[in-house]
């Protein structure tokens, strides 16, 4: 066995998720070594391993039709749905912040854009409420884990808290520059001004300015640094939440069902948001006011949200399959009437 072949085996194994490598890695490596000995250079083998490795990753994320054990399928689906919906929410907030700015200064000028904007605000409210409702049993479990001095959650919880703190502190600092500040009055508040400013500041990095370096160069250095740093906060927040979800002890089928229903509700809200955002984009030009006119960056946001929604729907479908396969909760034996 040459060092080159050994390196090739290690390289190919990396296509598979860690859980798969723990179970099959050693024996699969042996098979790969034998195969490489027989046929040292084989592109079909590489393509086959890559394809199946990616499939194993999708399975581990609860995204393939190949089901895991029910509890694992639900856990993986919940983690993936949470991650996909956070990505969706980040782009959605960027889009809604722009529209809320326009709403603050003028009427939409088009019934489609007005209805779409209100629909997007409603969908974000549902998404946020679902997120808060999901946090209740999760926080309960984290508190129980802390009482048991269970250290499994130390890293992911620190990551979530650290990134949330970064996003809140940074956003609080920059939200004063929100373009909607000094608008027309309370009747023009589509969402509370503070929330709109928060959404705008936390998603400053989602901007078409990246395509215009000359304009970007005029920004204050601190704002530029925030635009570069805040995506790391979002990524860290999503990663931490996925890690927490995957480590949760979801032994209670009632909690599993509760979280699964919330995931379905949040996915439906994301679909509503996407439909409203699409209606706004298709209404291009009919609306009045610069902030209501969609641009290329909005189309890009829509594509990113559509991809996130596809992942969330696939995860929700996997969760549903897992729920159906879960044994029914024990029921008390009913009193039998003697015949």
């Amino acid at each position: 066995m040459t060092a080159v072949a050994d390196r090739e085996v290690r390289r190919l194994l990396r296509w598979y998720p860690r859980s798969w490598r723990v179970r099959y890695g050693e024996e699969f490596a042996e098979l790969l070594r034998a195969d490489i000995d027989e046929r040292p250079a084989d592109l079909r083998r590489t393509a086959d391993v890559i394809r199946n490795g990616l499939l194993a990753r999708l399975t581990a994320a609860g995204l393939s039709g190949h089901e895991l054990a029910p509890e694992e399928q639900i856990r993986a689906g919940l983690a993936t749905a949470a991650c996909a919906l956070i990505v969706f929410a980040a782009f959605g907030m960027a889009m809604l912040a722009q529209l809320a700015t326009g709403w603050q200064r003028a009427s939409a000028g088009s019934a489609t854009t007005a209805a779409g904007t209100v629909g997007m605000a409603a969908a974000v409210t549902i998404l946020g409420a679902a997120g808060l409702a999901a946090a209740v049993p999760v926080c309960w479990q984290l508190a129980a884990a802390a009482r048991r001095r269970d250290r499994r959650f130390a890293v992911p919880v620190s990551l979530v808290l650290g990134c949330a703190a970064l996003l809140i502190i940074g956003t609080r600092h920059f939200q004063n520059a929100w373009p909607g500040t000094g608008g027309m009055g309370p009747e023009h508040h589509l969402v509370p001004g503070g929330l709109a400013a928060f959404g705008w500041a936390s998603t400053l990095s989602v901007s078409s300015y990246w395509a215009h370096p000359a304009l970007l160069g005029r920004f204050p250095a601190a704002e530029l640094a925030w635009m570069a740093l805040s995506p790391a906060g979002w990524i860290g927040l999503g990663t931490g939440l996925v890690m927490v979800t995957r480590r949760l002890d979801l032994a209670s089928s009632q909690v599993l069902r509760y979280l699964s229903h919330l995931a379905a509700l949040a996915t439906a809200a994301a679909a509503l948001f996407l439909a409203c955002a699409s209606a706004w984009l298709l209404d291009h030009g009919a609306a009045s006011g610069e902030a209501f006119r969609p641009g290329l960056v909005d189309a890009g946001e829509l594509v990113a949200m559509a991809l996130s929604l596809i992942a969330a729907v696939r995860a929700a479908s996997g969760i549903w399959h897992g729920l159906l396969a879960l044994p029914s909760p024990r029921r008390r034996p009913s009193a039998q009437i003697p015949l």
């Binding site: 179970r23 086959d48 199946n52 694992e72």
Partner: protein, 123 residues
């Protein structure tokens, strides 16, 4: 030798023990089950055996995806081994699933051969 205690990717208990849900891995799964019907084999031995009796070389990634699905459905099980090449053996559910799959394939082959003989004559 007895089954090892590693938890498979999913529990086969209570599931429909057939290859109907295997999609494009149904073919490799049938070949693997047919090979294991002879006795336990590890990955490399499976590849060689399938190549010999079916003329098909199962690529490593495809082989292990099919193996993990079969194990997940409880149709095969890993056998304890000190070797790094872990052997697999057929379970009773796997034997039943193979019997049903081969019977289905035989029915298709019989119909095809009968129609060929009727329309095209015997070779």
């Amino acid at each position: 030798m007895g089954p090892v205690t590693d938890a498979p990717r999913s529990t086969g208990a209570g599931r429909d023990a057939s290859l109907g849900t295997f999609g494009r891995y149904a073919g490799p799964a049938t070949l693997i089950l047919s090979s294991l019907a002879e006795g336990p084999k590890h990955g490399y031995a499976l590849t060689k055996d399938v190549e010999q009796f079916a003329g098909v070389r199962l690529a490593p990634g495809t082989l292990y995806e099919a193996l993990s699905r079969l194990e997940g459905q409880g149709l095969i099980e890993a056998v304890a081994s000190t070797d790094r090449r872990r052997p697999y053996q057929l379970t009773a559910a796997g034997a039943q699933a193979l019997r049903e799959q081969l019977a289905r394939e035989r029915r298709v082959a019989d119909v095809g051969l009968r129609r060929l003989a009727k329309g095209w004559g015997s070779a």
